[in-house]
């Protein structure tokens, strides 16, 4: 009779995204009252607030040091500045303020907050000379402030369902808020303003795009949120989360250029990963997101590359200079847009270098004194061209001795890779836009991802995610036999992973290894009974073997899980037809056609049932 249509299930890739960090409080250290360092350049005869200092504060400090922002006090007026003059002099001299970790290099970042030597010298001179106010005519206009939403009224505003209660005391705290399906259809997101709540408590926040609602499964009750510093998000292959959605104090919301919008599906959740610091009194945090949409769909598809070598992280107690490296060679030309180095509290010196095919090299970023509390995504002021064959290398140095006051263990303990604040990480994320040739037959993103997964397997042949992702890439290319070998490896490493069991079963089914597919599809369902794709695939497998009653049960279950799927309805109709219940068969074919009026197999089968063989 009819052929049951087979649908190979969607496959997924696992991206472990680092979300992370921070806290730093404004502090000063009293040494001696006299200021030892003489200014290196001769200052003007009299340094004044109005002429010399206000322009520095307005440009580099006022973004946070104004009412309602993250700075603990304002620096907009002469009395404000005078009241904190010694603090300003000490903290700018030590370069603790403004917070900017990267050393000055040939490549420039957008919104660099670093003060020049001359600016620092001017502030020192102003304080040493007695903090004169100067001529009012010299005072520049106050920095303009956009009140409320920085990019105008958002198209959609979502607020966390439940506030989080932050205790008055204790160490750093990491909390994740899950924002549910803020759209009723697929939309293109061009910008997002993250309002984390009290900016003095939130040192930084990251938004992760969760297309599979992984975050919800971690909540004790809907909307409650969940704790944890680092998250692993499962995402569909070839729609990798390609954008950094990052907030730190002073962040200015950023609109993606045309063609680089982020797809937000109907069932997409947004997870806000926040790093909070107790203030001394109990606080509640209830963040809000403002979403801005565009009608222009994405035509450019940046991806996030990850260099890492967590496997080498096994740092003995007392070790002051533990080095972790990784190197990846680009298989295609790319534009590097942004970079995000990430380590925890033992990280000391973080560096990334590009070695070009012609032998030249360039420092992509160098952070000589890493401070997790000020971590950030750094966006280049101009895209950095990296040609095919360029080797990107990372070198991270860790200090697990008592000399590192941020060491979470006292006395120091052996530290390995992990998601907790007391564990370590060695991650370097790069947002790149692959250049695609007009005649390109392959998606350059797929080439990069394949090179990346093969690189990961070289580093670690037991890398579960790499085996799985490589299998998904091979499936996409139609190389099913090779994909099956990779699925088998992933399945060997994590036998109970439902996503792998389903995809592995689907691949076996696609090559006619029906009997072999059934144990994997069954295992997927044992682990996750409401797994629609696995129900559907198992129904197809049983139908292929002639077990139509078994198939019927699976399709019925599939339709209960997802009543909107035309294929499942059509197959349910076919299963009824096979056991002779034409009335039910007709009903489900009609339902399939309701869901998709162009469903050819449902049409065809319905005609057959009615005794009118299809013209095909």
């Amino acid at each position: 009779m009819t052929v049951v249509p087979q649908k190979v299930t969607r496959t997924r890739t696992f991206l472990s995204l680092a979300g992370i960090v921070l806290l730093a409080a404004l502090s000063g250290r009293v040494l001696a009252q006299q200021n030892a360092a003489a200014p290196t350049a001769a200052p003007p005869p009299q340094v004044t607030f109005n002429r010399d200092v206000a322009p520095i504060l307005y440009r580099s400090c006022a973004r946070c040091h104004r009412p309602g922002e993250a700075g603990p006090f304002s620096l907009l007026t002469y009395p404000d500045a005078k009241s904190h003059a010694r603090q300003i002099a000490a903290l700018t001299k030590s370069r603790f303020m403004p917070p900017w970790l990267p050393a000055e290099g040939a490549l420039k970042f957008a919104d660099e907050l670093r003060l020049s030597e001359d600016e620092i010298t001017r502030i020192q001179a102003w304080v040493e000379q007695g903090t004169a106010e100067g001529n009012p005519a010299d005072l520049p206009p106050k920095p303009s402030v956009v009140e409320g939403w920085q990019l105008g009224k958002p198209d959609v505003i979502v607020t966390a369902t439940k506030p989080y209660a932050l205790p008055a005391s204790g160490s750093d705290n990491y909390w994740n808020f899950v924002f549910r399906t803020p759209v009723d259809r697929s939309r293109w997101l061009k910008a997002m303003e993250i309002r984390p709540g009290d900016k003095r408590l939130v040192h930084h926040a990251n938004v992760l795009v969760d297309r599979q609602q992984n975050g919800r499964r971690l909540e004790s009750e809907p909307g409650a949120g969940f704790g944890g510093m680092e998250l692993t998000i499962e995402s569909e292959a070839f729609d990798p989360d390609s954008h950094f959605l990052f907030w730190k104090p002073g962040s200015i919301p950023y609109a993606e250029p045309d063609g680089m919008a982020l797809r937000l599906g109907k069932d997409t959740d947004l997870i806000l990963n926040t790093h909070l610091q107790p203030s001394g009194k109990p606080e509640t945090i209830q963040p809000t997101l403002g979403l801005y949409f565009t009608d222009k769909p994405a035509t450019k598809h940046p991806i996030l590359l990850q260099l890492e070598n967590d496997r080498l992280l096994d740092i003995p107690p007392g070790e002051k200079h533990f080095v972790v490296t990784d190197e990846f060679t680009l298989p295609v030309d790319v534009d590097l847009l942004a970079i995000y180095p990430h380590a925890h509290y033992l990280g000391k010196d973080l560096q990334a270098i590009a070695k070009f095919p012609d032998g030249r090299s360039e420092t992509l970023i160098h952070i000589p004194d890493w401070n997790l509390n000020w971590q950030a995504v750094y966006r280049y002021s101009q895209p950095v061209k990296l040609a095919k064959g360029t080797a990107i290398s990372m070198k991270f140095v860790y200090d697990n001795s008592d000399d590192n006051v941020r060491n979470p263990n006292s006395p120091p303990q052996r530290v390995a890779a992990g998601n907790r604040a007391v564990d370590e990480m060695a991650h370097l994320w790069l947002q790149v836009l692959p250049a695609s040739a007009a005649d390109a037959k392959t998606d350059p993103r797929a080439e990069i991802l394949e090179a990346m997964t093969r690189h990961n397997l070289q580093k670690n042949p037991e890398d579960f995610e790499a085996h799985y992702n490589l299998a998904a890439l091979l499936m996409r290319r139609g190389e099913v036999e090779k994909a099956i070998a990779q699925f088998a490896e992933a399945n060997r490493i994590r036998p109970n992973e439902p996503t792998v069991n389903n995809a592995y079963g689907a691949a076996l089914l696609a090559t006619g290894q029906t009997e072999e597919s059934i144990p994997h599809l069954t295992a997927a369902l044992n682990e996750r009974p409401d797994y629609f794709d696995a129900r559907y695939n198992l129904g197809n497998a049983l139908a292929s073997l002639g077990d139509f009653r078994g198939a019927l049960a699976q399709f019925q279950a599939a339709v209960r899980i997802n009543p909107e799927d035309a294929n499942a309805e059509a197959n349910l109709g076919s299963a009824f037809a096979e056991i002779g219940d034409t009335k039910q068969a007709r009903l489900h074919y009609l339902r399939a056609l309701q869901l998709n009026p162009n469903h050819e197999l449902a049409k065809e089968n319905l005609q057959q049932l009615s005794g009118n063989p299809s013209p095909h």
Binding site: A25, S27, R29, G280, K281, Y345
Partner: protein, 181 residues
Amino acid sequence: MVALCLGAAPFISAVPQGFASDLDGKPFDPFRAAQGKVVVLIFVRTDCPVSNRYAPAIQQLSAKNAGKAVFFLIYPSKRETADSIRKHDREFGYRLAALRDPQHILVKESQAQITPEAAVFDANRRLVYHGRIDNLYEDFGHARKSATTHELADAIEAAIAGKKLTANATPAVGCYISDLE
């Protein structure tokens, strides 16, 4: 009973010219009020995030030494009003007597330079310790997960027991008191 409601307690002559005051604006001498107990002065500022973060620890330490040492919060800023201090203390759960010291009488006697900074005086009004509360902050941006040394607690214990301290001053990390002028 700690005599916090002495009203117009006359300041004693050992205090340099000027005086600290309670939040009603009346001159107030913490040493007289302590009636011979150990006196702990904690210098704080409402807009200093470092001293604010210490609020729970300060409150706990005073509760632990109740009856043996008397704690006072000292606000050295001219700009901070009695109302803003009351509001701040309520928010942060402080139940200690708060004094304003805009003329820096207690600041000078305690050799305090930073908020938060502590000063411990023995029963004879001798300054036996001044400096940081503990080593949570090592420097700007260099904070430990939790403190590993507790200088103030050690100093109070020694002062109560009448023992000599090995170190009677450690630099504090926080906001400069001198900036207030």
